[in-house]
């Protein structure tokens, strides 16, 4: 009767097993540092331009939309606070993670998927390397290191975007007020949640991308399916998790 439950539960079990192995491998030789560096370059450096763009325009658009509301209350001077809190707590981490999911979860799924369907994963195992150690762990480590960095960049460039709209375009407030309020408003728990989120999202992006890649079957079509699934699943989880992490911090405060 519960047969329909079997495939998803099995899949979850496999996902948990893969995640467990990937984490255990962090503390176990051999370490493939070269692969970690290559992945850091692809995930981190490669994402800087797009993450900066997204950060800039999200900061700018928040300021733009908030300017009218703030005008109604005569609270234009508060604009720095609002931009800063929204970006650091929520939009910076989530938008960066969604972009990186689109770029890199898909990249991982398609790369590992192609390797799977051309028997390269089997060859790897036959020739003495553990694919989890060689492929999954470096991607996990690189994403965990790079996503918080990218988020910091996105947050900062977002604040610049907000500054340009608030102080240069709309003259809502002075540069000094904007920067000092946006700095002062941040508390430790804002910074904490702003950095814990990308760390959690990084784990989701890397593991989901690799998981769907490694379980690819059915030739090139299968690779396409794996890629789509990886991006969709990773993005959905990012939004679900940001809610729960946010809830946790709200209760804490």
């Amino acid at each position: 009767m519960l047969d329909w439950l079997k495939p998803p539960v099995l899949k979850l079990q496999e996902f948990i097993l893969l995640s467990g192995r990937a984490f255990v491998n962090l503390f176990r030789a051999p370490h493939y540092w070269n692969d970690v560096a290559v992945q850091m370059d692809i995930i981190g450096v490669g994402s800087v331009p797009i993450v900066s763009m997204i950060g800039f325009f999200s900061g700018a658009v928040i300021t733009l939309q908030m300017s009218r509301a703030l005008n109604q209350y005569g609270a234009q001077g508060e604009v720095g606070r609002i931009v800063s809190i929204t970006l650091v707590r929520e939009l910076g981490p989530v938008l960066t993670a969604v972009i990186v999911a689109g770029r890199n979860a898909s990249g991982m799924a398609s790369e590992l998927g192609s390797m799977k369907v051309t028997e390269q994963i089997d060859a790897m195992r036959a020739l003495g390397t553990d694919p989890t150690q060689k492929l999954v762990t470096p991607r996990l480590l690189a994403t965990m290191f790079m996503l918080p960095m990218l988020t910091i960049i996105a947050d900062f460039i977002g604040l610049i975007g907000g500054y340009i709209v608030a102080c240069v375009m709309l003259n809502l407030t002075t540069a000094t007020t904007y920067w000092s309020t946006s700095y002062q408003v941040l508390e430790y728990d804002d910074i904490a949640q702003g950095l814990i989120k990308p760390l959690v999202f990084a784990i989701v992006i890397a593991l989901v991308g690799c998981f769907y890649g490694l379980e690819t079957t059915g030739g090139t079509q299968g690779v396409g399916r794996a890629t789509t699934r990886a991006v969709v699943v990773a993005s959905v989880w990012i939004f679900v998790l940001t809610f729960f992490i946010g809830k946790f911090f709200v209760q804490l405060g």
Partner: protein
Amino acid sequence: MAEIPSDVLLRLDRVTVEFNDTPALKDVTFQLRKGETVVLLGASGSGKTVLLKTALGLIPPSEGNVFLLGRNITRLRERELMDLRSRLGVLFQEGGLFDSLTIEENVAYPLVNQKSLECPPEEIRSRVEEALQFVELEHTLEKLPSELSGGMRRRVGIARAIVSHPDFLLYDSPTAGLDPITANTIMALIAKERDLRHITTALATHRFQDGQLLANYHFDAKTQSLQPIGANGEVDVRTRFVVMGEGRVVFEGEQEELERCKDAYVAMFGRRWKG
């Protein structure tokens, strides 16, 4: 459990393999002894590849036991399997080359990564060159697999399989999708490796003439060419044929028995290329 004689390199004992409840191998018993050549014939989808992958411990059997080099690997951990796998060479169906690595890195891969081979780093380059010379591709060291033709990639795959000087070699459809001339080159290389180094060989193929070649020809070191067996002196080559159909072993025996076999499916492999 029965003791495995030391000359049995590989034994599958009543092995069943299932994917999502669909059996890919059904109650298969298969054995490879030291010094022999086994030709595994079968249509595509008959379970040849699954059999070879099960033998390597890449696919776990649902039932039955797999013995590799005297050890039961059915429930062995991946790390212990690695050491056993380092003693055999494999050529995957499409070559299985890593397309992000150069030919040199591909061929060096087992030497670099298989710790139990204990290959000193300064020897790696010369062994890679030696293996590539064997398949006559020593000029491609710096190239990427995508820059080579299908037949050349298969030859690099052979070089990678033999670079570790394995105890025995498994070839999965080495001639599939190649033109007849290239296919013959590949088969000549396989015979050459078998006869010069006396390597136990298992070959999965859907072409009977590949098996015929291994059964009836040997590589002569003096003339550097393939010669019919028995033409000049005794050559000790034992070739056994195993025919698979729908996940089962449907025939096992020598070439003559295969050619005489009345079973319609088996005869299809024995007769088509005869004469």
